[in-house]
């Protein structure tokens, strides 16, 4: 076992004993990955922060159940995906709100528009949870298929087929959106 893994195991052990400082170290180590995972699912800065906080609180409560079979980062990634999914479900019935905060026009391709976000948002909402998680990890975090398989605890073949199906569905939805827009 590497030094980093040993340090992480020690932090987890101490956090489980109620040591908040050790838990803070874990938050610091994985904050960016957790936030990016949350954002990749909810696609909104404020919602991603809420989801991240939710995931960390669930981690704190559930540390006793973390058996160390998977790495801590895998475990917290799953908790984040669950928290994000809960968040989406809770907000599913509310009207779609396209936020402009955290949206830096200068860093986006020129063609990027609020309507475009809305269009992708609708296409992503149409995906099932499993497919959306795979797309989120692949394009939101640039994870490879083996990494996604490890994070979700699924065989690589399943991930590949989910990704393939999700992309086909997204392509159709986005193309249809463009066609409709073009016709208008």
């Amino acid at each position: 076992m590497g030094v980093m893994e040993e340090i992480e195991r020690d932090l987890v052990r101490r956090a489980r004993d109620g040591d908040q400082e050790a838990f803070r170290c874990l938050v610091e180590r994985h904050h960016e990955q957790v936030y990016r995972t949350a954002y990749a699912v909810v696609a909104d800065a404020a919602a991603a922060s809420e989801v991240e906080q939710d995931a960390w609180v669930k981690a704190w409560r559930g540390l006793d159940r973390f058996r160390g079979e998977a790495s801590f980062v895998t475990w917290i990634t799953r908790l984040t995906l669950n928290a994000a999914s809960d968040h989406r479900r809770r907000h599913a019935r509310r009207p779609t709100e396209v936020r402009l905060d955290g949206f830096d026009v200068a860093e986006r391709p020129a063609a990027w528009r609020v309507e475009e976000r809305d269009e992708i948002d609708r296409a992503m909402r149409a995906l099932g949870r499993d497919a959306r998680d795979v797309v989120a990890l692949r394009y939101g975090l640039d994870m490879t298929v083996p990494q996604i398989a490890a994070a979700l605890g699924c065989p690589q073949g399943t991930i590949k087929s989910r990704l393939h199906g999700a992309l086909a569905q997204l392509r159709r939805a986005l193309q249809t959106g463009r066609d409709t827009e073009g016709a208008a």
């Binding site: 109620g18 803070r24 938050v27 904050h31 954002y39 991240e52 960390w56 409560r61 391709p109």
Partner: protein, 280 residues
């Protein structure tokens, strides 16, 4: 899948910036403080819960005592098993009209408590746990398997080692010349159960040391320094526990106590996650 669509997804799924960790931690810290806070209840709510838990405990005990009636003859056999042959062949006696009856029901009650102990323990813990902090809860749950395990080992040690030696010594001592053992059932059962109970308690020494180290009451490093006092205390306690004045029986209890102290030192040095119900 066009590259264009993949690029569009990347742009959509990635935040332009990540909030500072301090901002996230502030929210998380406040939330976990609430999670950890012991549950606050009014006195009336406490009394209400206590009544409900007592009723459940008494119910479980009553059912267990009824079930224990079936096993009591077998338990009697087991309690007489460590006695020397002379007792087994001559049998125990009773000197008062109520003695046999009362002793029999004393064994029934003890067996019932034994059968109901998981329920009684659960009810006691369920009453205490909401008032504990996360750290205390974790310590309690981690120590539970150790408490039960060491108590059971203590009883087994008392049953298979201490009792046969002590009883043989005591009974042989009396029949060397003019004395004949004439032991009443009440005094025999009282003697055997007292030894077993206190051996179980004595075997909790490592758990007590481990919990004390966890709570910061003792430092594991200092425990080794207290060894000479621990050995002295082990012999004094052994002298009190064992009914015989001879050093053999005293050593038979004192040496295991000393060994238990040493196990306690080793346990106290281990992190919480590596003992009891610890995982990870």
């Amino acid at each position: 899948m066009s590259i264009d669509t993949e690029e569009r997804l990347r742009a959509y799924l990635r935040p332009t910036d990540v909030p500072p960790v301090d901002q996230v931690w502030a929210g998380v810290e406040e939330a976990i403080r609430e999670v950890d806070a012991p549950l606050e209840m009014t006195l009336v709510e406490h009394l209400d819960e206590l009544r409900s838990r007592l009723i459940k405990s008494v119910g479980a005990l009553a059912a267990s005592v009824a079930a224990a009636l079936i096993f009591t003859p077998k338990i009697f056999e087991l309690l007489i098993y460590p006695a020397p042959d002379i007792i087994k062949t001559k049998g125990l006696v009773f000197l008062e009209p109520t003695e046999a009856f009362l002793t029999y029901f004393q064994v029934v009650l003890m067996t019932g408590v034994g059968i109901a102990s998981p329920v009684l323990l659960y009810q006691a813990l369920a009453f205490i746990v909401p008032g504990l902090t996360r750290r205390e809860r974790r310590l309690l749950f981690s120590s539970m398997p150790l408490v039960v395990g060491f108590f059971a080992v203590g009883i087994a040690f008392g049953y298979f080692v201490t009792l046969p030696f002590a009883l043989k010594y005591l009974i042989d001592f009396t029949i060397e010349g003019f004395l004949t053992p004439f032991i009443t059932v009440g005094s025999y059962i009282g003697f055997v159960t007292t030894i077993l109970f206190w051996m179980g308690i004595a075997f909790e020494t490592p758990v007590v040391l481990w919990v004390a180290a966890r709570l910061g009451i003792v430092e594991p490093r200092r425990l080794a320094g207290y060894r000479k006092y621990a050995i002295l205390a082990a012999f004094v306690i052994a002298a009190v526990i064992t009914p015989t004045p001879d050093p053999l029986n005293q050593a038979l209890v004192a040496i295991p106590l000393w060994v238990l102290y040493e196990i306690g030192i080793l346990l106290a040095r281990l992190p919480l996650g590596q003992v009891g119900g610890g995982r990870g």
